[in-house]
């Protein structure tokens, strides 16, 4: 019998019940909540007179709507009344159901996918769900993690389980060494460019290969975060010493004898050598250069030395139409150099790239430089209060501020512009976030997805530049 994949093992470990019709009940160890996708779920519980099944499995924080500027007036200081009500509703629901919440002015508040790992609330071998598609992030810890809708948020609250169906297994094997200046963000953008935004639909993707072993936990989170942008609800990375070292000593991590037992159990959180995958994609790490998206889908991506494609060269009619529409929306010309794209704003943040390592990479590039005068704004939004505090302890905030980059309070911010941070119509933004959809960062806004280092270099130059060249000079 063939060995098991990491996904197979995690599935088996959480199977409560397999039904004859192919559906299954799986147990959820950790449920993360935020203000946008939970209010209707709590309301559903109330209407049906149900209680949460297991309070201590839940952890909540407001992130999407929170302002990233002064918060001294607390929730009442949120200017947009609709946003304020949503954040207040999360506070009220958590208080009335007894769920632990890191409120807006708690030092531990932050983007839900940053704080889970940071607190040790995300552990190897767990199942983690959240009403947010970027829950795939937590798969970096050999955790079966995926986004769910609000009906499922209610279902998990009420039953601690999900009704689901087993996915197929895909291995994306990235072998070799990444070049200097090439980061985890470039890896995942490249992978999406290769397999497309629907390439992983129906699959749990395990990211493996020699290159993955030398990528930090922050980098692994960036890669798993965007598995959903390749269509896969689940991204996974095998557990190794890097994982264990990251988890050790965090507030909710196991302690004492439990820690020793846990570490022993986590050794099995790898795909067996003879495991069979339904699909395998091989990527040579050395082929990857810093990436920039030019279109309105994450698969519309190319290397920094590339050009905006010419739709006329596309043979597939639906794709050609999509390319033309994207170019029109983005205000770009076919065959234009990527480096010729002029920028209006730069955003460094989001659940993809707002961890301490991301901020260090960006700070290293901007240090001693000034933001281009042609730029309207460059901002850094740390992923959590603790990331912000760490960055400040390292003096990164000063580096950004001296360069003319705004230093903000933690939240989702301009990734999806539910708070006041947004693009104006027609503005081009170099963004370290995860989606370049039409209007994502603001009505009519034009998003280019890049790594933190590339965003930082673009902020200095005012247009895209190859960060590898930039660092040399």
């Amino acid at each position: 019998m063939a060995g098991k994949t990491l996904y197979d093992k995690l599935w088996q470990d959480h199977l409560v019940r397999q039904n004859d019709d192919g559906s299954a009940l799986i147990y959820i160890d950790r449920h993360l909540l935020h203000e946008v996708t939970s209010p209707q779920a709590f309301e559903g519980l109330r209407l049906a007179n149900r209680k949460p099944w297991r309070i201590d499995a839940n952890l909540a924080t407001p992130d999407h709507n929170v302002p990233t500027t002064d918060r001294s007036s607390g929730v009442q200081g949120i200017v947009d009344p609709v946003s304020r009500i949503q954040v207040q509703t999360l506070d009220d629901n958590c208080a009335s159901f007894g769920i632990t919440e890191f409120k807006m002015n708690d030092l531990r508040q932050g983007i839900v996918h940053v704080i889970g790992p940071e607190q040790g609330a995300t552990l190897p071998g767990m199942t983690v769900v959240c009403g947010d598609s970027h829950t795939s992030t937590h798969g970096a810890f050999a955790t079966l993690a995926h986004g769910i809708g609000t009906s499922e948020v209610e279902h998990v609250l009420a039953t601690q389980c999900l009704i689901t169906k087993k996915m197929n297994n895909m291995l994306v094997r990235i072998d070799g060494e990444l070049g200097t200046g090439v980061t985890a963000k470039d890896v995942i953008l490249h992978v999406i460019g290769v397999i497309g935004t629907a390439g992983g639909t129906g699959y749990a993707i395990e990211f493996g290969g020699t290159a993955m072993r030398s990528i930090s936990m922050e980098g692994r989170m960036t890669i798993c975060n965007m598995a959903i942008e390749a269509g896969a609800r689940v991204g996974l990375v095998a557990c190794d010493q890097v994982t264990v070292d990251y988890v050790k000593g965090r507030p909710y991590s196991p302690k004492g004898e439990d820690w020793d037992r846990a570490v022993e159990a986590w050794k099995d959180l790898v795909s067996d050598a003879d495991a069979q995958f339904d699909a395998v994609v091989e990527i040579n790490a050395a082929d990857i250069e810093p990436q920039v998206t030019w279109g309105t889908s994450p698969e519309m991506v190319t290397g920094i030395s590339g050009k905006v494609p010419n739709p006329a060269a596309e043979t597939d009619a639906v794709k050609r139409e999509g390319y033309s529409r994207a170019l029109q929306y983005m205000g770009l010309q076919a065959d234009q150099d990527i480096t010729a794209i002029q920028l209006d704003r730069v955003f460094i943040g989001s659940c993809t790239n707002s961890r301490i390592e991301d901020l260090r990479e960006a700070a290293a590039v901007v240090k001693g430089h000034k933001v281009a005068s042609t730029l309207k704004q460059a901002l850094v939004v740390p992923g959590s209060g603790l990331v912000k505090a760490q960055a400040e302890a390292e003096g990164l905030d000063k580096i950004f501020i001296e360069a003319g980059v705004e230093w903000r309070e933690p939240g989702c911010s301009m990734c999806l512009a539910m708070n006041p941070d947004k693009l104006g119509a027609g503005e081009h933004c170099a963004s370290t976030s995860n989606r370049n959809f039409e209007g994502r960062q603001g009505f009519g806004g034009r998003t280019h997805l890049v790594s933190p280092a590339m965003a930082a270099a673009a902020a200095i130059a005012g247009h895209f530049v190859d960060v590898r060249e930039f660092v040399k000079h």
Partner: protein, 215 residues
């Protein structure tokens, strides 16, 4: 949940691939803590010429006459014909809520994004996957025929065309059962409460560090 058994309705086309959830319902409308009323903001950025805001009177906004759902021939449509990877992007259930609230009961496409597909079933909205060539053919027929309507028979798992021909589709037995009967997932799962308790008891022994964490 609303039942879905047999539905006959006129069809509207959404002729572009990778329609994402931001396009289906832009983020500013996700600030609502309600579950209803999203229909007026379905495809907001395509449908109106201005930038939409929550709590706005949509009837006063300038419509984009070029947008397909604003065209007279597609008024009252309840079946959406779409291209591949429909519903990609976020997990926001506001996307199916908006489609359902607008009046759609079924969406036909060559493929759907996983989370969106799953969310549809929780809201009495039936996503139907058909071969790309079949979808191409439906687009052609729809284009050629004003008032083009399809009948969807979930029990028989067929889409019936105006000429009487039938196209079969597949669907998970469990999802079909729930839709046909309008069943509440939570109620079903709670019937297996003993299984859940038994699992927890085993798990507490095998991995005690997973319990009593945030308390």
């Amino acid at each position: 949940m609303k039942k879905f058994t047999l539905h006959k309705g006129t069809v509207a086309p959404m002729d572009r691939a990778n329609v994402d959830t931001d396009l289906i319902i832009p983020k500013q409308f996700l600030k609502s803590i309600k579950r209803s009323g999203f229909g007026q903001n379905l495809f907001d950025e395509l449908r109106y010429l201005d930038e939409g805001q929550p709590d706005q009177d949509a009837s006063q906004r300038p419509l984009n006459p070029d947008f397909v759902l604003n065209q007279p021939r597609y008024q009252g449509a309840s079946v959406l014909l779409a291209r591949k990877n429909f519903g990609c992007g976020s997990s926001r259930e506001h996307a199916p809520w908006a489609l359902e609230d607008f009046g759609f009961r079924a969406i036909i496409a060559p493929s759907f994004a996983d989370i969106f597909y799953n969310n549809c079933f929780k809201n009495g909205l039936l996503p139907i996957v058909l071969d790309e060539a079949v979808v191409d053919q439906l687009f052609d027929e729809l284009q050629a025929t004003e008032g083009y309507a399809l009948t969807i028979d979930l029990e028989q798992q067929v889409v019936c065309k105006p000429d009487g021909s039938k196209i079969e589709f597949s669907i998970d037995a469990f999802r079909k059962h729930c839709l046909l009967n309008g069943l509440d997932d939570i109620g079903l799962t709670l019937q297996h409460a003993d299984d859940i308790h038994a699992y927890e008891a085993r798990r507490r022994v095998a991995a005690p560090w997973l319990f009593d964490t945030t308390k």
